[in-house]
Amino acid sequence: MSQTIFYNSQCETIPRDGLEQLQIERLQSTLNRVYRNVVFYQAAFDSHRVNLQKLKSLQALRDIPFTTRQDLQKSYPYNMFAVPLRDIVRIHSTAGTAEKPIVVGYTRNDLRNWTECVARLLTAAGITEHDVVQIALDYNIFAGGFGFHQGAEQIGATVIPASLTTSVEKQIMIMKDYKTTVLITTPSHAVNIAAGIEDMHVHPDQLQLKLALFDGEPLGDQLRRELEQQLHIALTDTYGLTEVMGPGVAGECHARQGLHINEDHFIVEIINPKTLQPVKIGDEGELVFTTITKEGFPLIRYRTGDITSLNPQPCACGRTFLRMAKVTGRTDDLISFRGVGFFPSQIEEILTETVGQNPQYQIILDRAGGVDTLEIRLEVSGKFPSIDGIRALETFLEQLAKRIRTVLDVEAKVTFVEPKSLQVAEGKGRVLDKRPGY
C-alpha cells in the first residue's frame, strides 16, 4: 500500500489519549459557551438539572439532553446561534420553507475549520495540488458546493466550479478538454455523466478522470461498482450534513474501509433510537454528533436520524480517528433526492394548502436514464377547485409543481389519478422508492 499522505498529520494521527484530553477540553468550553449564549441550551440544561461543573468525562456527556431536528426548526432562523449576527460571515440552510428549514451560521473561524476538515478528506481520498477538480454540485444555499470548493482550493488543486446547472454535455466537454482528474458530484449526477459519455461516444480512457467523490446521497454498493466500471475510476464516499457543518464531517481514506470522522472537531455517539441509550461500540444505531469547535452554530448531542455503526479498530492508513460505516438507513422518513433532503409531510403540506384537507397522494421515486425522478400522484376528488378543460388542468398541475420547486428546491412531476385508485395506507406506503440501491 502506498504511503499515506495527510493534510494535517499532527491532528489526524493524534494518539487516542491525547485526543480524549482535547475532546474534553473543547467539550467543556463549548458547553460553557452555549450555556451562556444560547437560550435553548440554557433552558434544556436547567430543566434536565445538568451541572456543567460536574461534567468530568466524555462519558458524562450522556447526562446532557439531545437536540433534535425539531428543536432546530423551532429556533428558526437565528435562535440557535451562539454569537451575534455581526460575527457570522456565512449562512447556509437545509431545504424547505413550509416546514421550517434549519439555518446555519458560520464565523470566520468556523469557515477555516470547515475548509480544513474538507481539505483533510480530499487529501485522504488521494487528491493533491496536481489534480484538476471539477465540482458538479449546487453552489447555493445548500452547503455542498461551497464546502468542497473551499477545501479543494485549500489543498491547492485546480478547481472548476462546474456546478449542477451546467448541462451533462458541457460537463463532459469540460471533463475532457480541461483534463479533469477528480469529479465531485452526487451519485445520480454521476450516473447521468456515465450515460452521457456513452451517448457522446467518449471512451472513459480518453478522460484523465481517476477519482470521484460523492456527496448528498447515500452511495449503494451496487451503484458504486457500476460507476467504477463505467468511468474507470475509484469512488470515495464522504459524509456530512449541513446542520453539523456540511461536507467534511467524515470521509473515506485510500483503504476504503469506512469513513474517518474528524474527531478533533466532533464527538460522535451511536444510540439506540428507541431507548436513546448508547449502543455497544460496533453495533448499529442512530448517529449523534456534538460539535466541539464551532463558534456560530454549536450543536450538542444532535440526533442526525442516520443509522450507521462505528469501527474503533486502527486503520491501515494510520489515522487514529474512528470510522463510521456507510449510512444504511434513516430513523425517520426523510427522502434524499438529488442531494436534497425533504420529508413526505412537506409535500403533504403543500398539497393541503392547494387542494384542501386530506389529499390522497403517493410519492414515487424512480430513476430514468440515470436521473432520479420524483412523481406525485394525486387522486382527483370532489373537493378540488373546479377545473374545466385540459388547459386548466395542465396549468393547475404546473403550478403545483412550481410550488413544490419553490418550497423544496426539487423538480417534481405531478399527475392526477382516478379517485380511490391509490390504495395507500397512512405513513410509509405513501412513498414508493423504486430507485436501484434504495
Binding site: L22, I24, S29, N32, R36, Q53, K54
Partner: protein, 244 residues
C-alpha cells in the same frame, strides 16, 4: 508535558476554578487570557503547588503533581514567575539568581550553576551590568527580567509566567516578549497568563479564554485573535459599539 483535568480550586469559601481542563504540549507556548478575577493566577498557583486543588488532576511529565509541595514541583522542572515579581529586594541581583538554582545546589557543580547564570546574563544584558546592585533598586522591567532569570536558574522544562507585562513600561514589555519568543525558539515550554491578550497571542501557539473560573473558548492563537468576542473583550476592538 502538562495535562490538567477538571481542576477545581479556591480560597476558603470562595470557589474560583470550576472544572478547568487544559494541556500544554512539549515546546508549545500556551496563553491564558481573561479578565481580572477569572481565575488565571489561581490556576498557576495551583499548578505550582502553592494552592491545593479541591479536585481534579494535574499531570506534569506523566506524573501527578497536584499533591506535591511547591519545592518538589520546581525540582521536577516546573517553575513560576509570579505576578508582581516577588524578588528579594534586599539581596543583590546575583544572589537572587543564585537562589533560583537552590534545588540544584547538591546535584550540580558550581561551574554548572555559573554557566546557567551566564545564560541568563546573555538573555538579559542589563542584569549582568547590575549584578551587584540590590534587587529593590531595579526598575519594574528589570525586576521582571530578574524574576524570569531567577526562574530560569532552576532549569525548568515548563516556565509559567503570570502577567509579565504588569507594571512594566511599554517599551520594556516589548523586550520581555522578545525574550519570551527567544526562549520558546530554544525549545522551552511556556504557559503564559496575560491580560495583555495581544502580546500573549502574538507569542503563543494556542490559548484558552477564562471567564469566571471556566474556560469558554480555546483554540490556536490565530483563531482566538480572529474571534470577534475575544477582539471586543480583550483586544480593545470595540469601536463598532459606538455606532450601534
Amino acid at each position: 508535558m502538562l495535562r490538567i483535568l477538571n481542576l477545581e480550586a479556591g480560597y476558603g469559601l470562595l470557589h474560583i476554578l470550576k472544572g478547568i481542563s487544559l494541556h500544554v504540549l512539549p515546546g508549545e507556548a500556551v496563553a491564558i487570557i481573561g479578565a481580572n478575577g477569572a481565575g488565571k493566577t489561581t490556576l498557576l498557583k495551583t499548578i505550582a503547588g502553592i494552592l491545593r486543588p479541591r479536585s481534579g488532576t494535574v499531570v506534569f511529565n506523566k506524573q501527578e503533581i497536584h499533591r506535591e509541595s511547591p519545592e518538589k514541583i520546581v525540582a521536577g522542572g516546573c517553575s513560576l514567575v509570579p505576578e508582581g515579581r516577588h524578588i528579594f529586594s534586599t539581596m543583590t541581583v546575583k544572589e537572587n539568581l543564585l537562589l533560583g538554582a537552590y534545588h540544584r545546589r547538591r546535584k550540580c557543580t558550581a561551574a554548572d550553576i555559573a554557566a546557567s547564570m551566564e545564560e541568563v546574563y546573555d538573555l538579559f544584558g542589563i542584569l549582568r551590568e547590575r549584578a551587584n546592585q540590590l534587587g529593590g533598586t531595579l526598575s519594574g522591567g528589570q525586576q521582571q527580567m530578574l524574576a524570569i532569570g531567577r526562574a530560569l536558574m532552576s532549569k525548568p522544562k515548563l516556565l509559567m509566567m503570570d502577567e509579565p507585562s504588569l507594571g512594566v513600561a511599554p517599551l520594556t514589555v516589548r523586550d520581555i516578549y522578545k525574550t519570551i519568543a527567544r526562549l520558546k525558539q530554544n525549545g522551552l515550554t511556556i504557559l503564559l497568563v496575560e491580560q495583555n491578550a495581544q502580546m500573549a497571542l502574538a507569542v503563543a501557539d494556542r490559548g484558552y479564554v477564562f471567564e469566571t473560573g471556566q474556560i469558554v473558548l480555546e483554540g490556536t492563537a490565530r483563531e482566538l485573535s480572529d474571534n470577534p468576542e475575544v477582539q471586543r473583550a480583550y483586544l480593545g476592538k470595540d469601536y463598532q459599539k459606538i455606532n450601534e
